[in-house]
Symmetry: C2
Subunit: 220 residues, 2 copies
Amino acid sequence: MTKQEVSPSVIRRLPRYYRFLGDLKSQGKVRVSSGELSQALGLTASQIRQDLNCFGGFGQQGYGYQVAALHEEIGSILGVKNRRRAIVIGLGNLGRAIANHVNFESCGCELIGLFDANPFVAGRDLDGIPIHHTDTLDGFCHMEHPELAVLCLPADAAIATAQRLEALGLRAFWNFSHADLHLENPDCIVENVYLDDSLLTLTYGLNHMQTPAHPTETKY
Amino acid sequence: MTKQEVSPSVIRRLPRYYRFLGDLKSQGKVRVSSGELSQALGLTASQIRQDLNCFGGFGQQGYGYQVAALHEEIGSILGVKNRRRAIVIGLGNLGRAIANHVNFESCGCELIGLFDANPFVAGRDLDGIPIHHTDTLDGFCHMEHPELAVLCLPADAAIATAQRLEALGLRAFWNFSHADLHLENPDCIVENVYLDDSLLTLTYGLNHMQTPAHPTETKY
DNA sequence: TAGATTGTTAATCGATTAACAATC
DNA sequence: TAGATTGTTAATCGATTAACAATC
């Protein structure tokens, strides 16, 4: 399908392109140039053209890109029209928020099951989707063949569960736990969302800021 | 303080080092080499030594690194002992989960205020921290001088609120909204957590996987 | 001392930017 | 046609890896 392995840096920019093109489209914009995109997204025009040309020549010289067509193209590269079967494991604060808040459908996924190890949580439901007990995971996976698991568990449990799910045939892991998941199968893909690490980046930034916001204490 | 501007790639690895060293420490490990670290973290030993040497020579030739000392060093580089005053704006599913779930204290932050525009939400509290109405934000900031804001709002509101907060002297933004925040002040730092983009990365991965998990449909 | 492992310089690799011919 | 903007090649920049002398 794709000529050559596309670099992760490029792939990570695709959703932003997709999102912004969607905005333009809904504003009724028909045409856009790499120059305009670059301004709005804070990238160079060159980079945008390079990125897009990893997947094909979607533009027209002298004209630019058709907003709707490009939006569609990138959407299909990302796979937004898919319905990848996804499950969420761990329905504490975070798991519930992710299940509720994230628009799985618009990301090419379908939430087909929720699981929690706490017997008081299992048996209930979240917006109509029933929460099962983690013990029933094996049976569920054999029946329903989910492909993607969202892990909202403590680190230890996340590692153990990921391994179990890997054996059950799942191939994609969205990991919100504070654990480094190393899986057997090299085909498995893991996307980590390390919230604390992300926050620490800001803490670092505040520490090493040229001009402190409220110059109160003296930092040596 | 620091010799030279340290690259963002290095900074993003620091929290992982910090976290892993904390684990080693609590396991009672005293000594660690860049080789051991590299194995556990899936990086090269060379890179780890390079990274650490951005901040100083923390190791001893022929021996390696003292776990506790290095943990401490990285912690202080990140600023985990700070108590940066932070506020959360928007207490929907996600905002509540972030406020509850993220360990602000261990990331050098202190949660001093929660805000929501919904009058039914404002006035209540979350684990003892009162939720204020967004209208009272200006007064609060003048009194309390928060430095960091967690934005859990819809895109439009996030953009408007960030600008308002910038004017009120805040300098760091942890942005969970699906918006590109471009702020006036170049000193402002923004850390985006684009959950949908992150999920789309996995969707893309599943699409472009060599071996499909459950080879059902034929993909052309 | 011999062995190990760092700190650091040099080499490589990859990603971003610049430039420009192709062409709508 | 003239103007604009792409696709693509070449140049630059930065980050990662390799190598090795310094030294504990």
